[in-house]
Amino acid sequence: MDKNHELYYDEISSLRKFRSKIDSHAVYKEDLDDFSNEYEELIAQAKVITRVSDRLQKKLDNANIQIKEQNDEIKFKNIELKTTVDQLAQARVGRKASTIMLSVALILFIAEQLLLEPWIQANIDIPFAGLGILAILFVLVKVLESSLEKYFMNKEKKKILEAEQKQAEGWS
């Protein structure tokens, strides 16, 4: 059998046969009947194939809409999760960073008062030099506090996400 068939091979083959009969002027009523029957069947076939395809196209469209809706929902849930993780991390980290920086600030203040202040009074003749140094220390502490908070936040977020992932793996 011919292994190189194309789609609608039988129908094309019938058409070729009929055309060759026309060319040879050997068309009988029987041939016309056969050809019109085949044509009728082809129309019925086309109708069914179109109907079936339309239905399955609709099925595919619905599936695509569903996927899109699910994607949108996942995106929304991701945003929600990120916000919750941020809030949770902020709550856990904020206090920790403030406590550390308050302790550091206190140590620096005491060190400044005990060690640096007497030295400044003895060696530097600039008014309010001690206060200036305290102001610099204050700014430094604030900068350090934000960096420390950022560092702890990233660490905490990683921890929360790992815990979430473990929990999700446990469910699946």
Binding site: M1, E6, A44, Q45, V48, I49, R51, V52, S53, L56
Partner: protein, 127 residues
């Protein structure tokens, strides 16, 4: 006539044709690059079955989806089955569709009506 077994892929269905048992199974999704190339072997074997196959023939069909060119090939497959029936053999066609998949059920009804073949419709649970 030869046995045909084709593992399913993302775009082609599982095919199991056993001429000794008089059985054809087609299951899964069908949207191959070249549908006629994929179905040709089945069409040729069914043609041969009508001439020299056993007295009983059963087809179990369970599609999730098929594209337009596959729907034409399926029409040709059922046409061959119709020829098997015309040759005096007993033919059973089981058309399975997923629960609630009315589109797929109606697609089976369309083929059944057009070719005047009896289909047994069975709803199956989703995987």
């Amino acid at each position: 006539m030869e046995k045909i077994f084709i593992e399913p892929t993302r775009t082609t269905p599982l095919i199991n044709f056993d001429p000794d048992e008089g059985l054809l199974e087609m299951k899964g999704r069908s949207s191959p690059e070249n549908s006629i190339e994929f179905y040709q072997k089945i069409l040729d074997n069914l043609e041969e079955y009508a001439l020299s196959g056993g007295e009983q023939f059963t087809a179990n069909i369970a599609f999730e989806y098929f594209n337009t060119s596959s729907s034409k090939c399926l029409f040709d497959v059922f046409k061959r089955m119709s020829r098997i029936e015309d040759s005096g053999k007993t033919i059973t066609i089981n058309w399975h569709y997923e629960e609630g998949d009315d589109d797929m059920m109606e697609a089976g009804e369309d083929y059944s009506d057009l070719l005047d073949l009896d289909f047994n419709f069975t709803e199956i649970e989703e995987d």
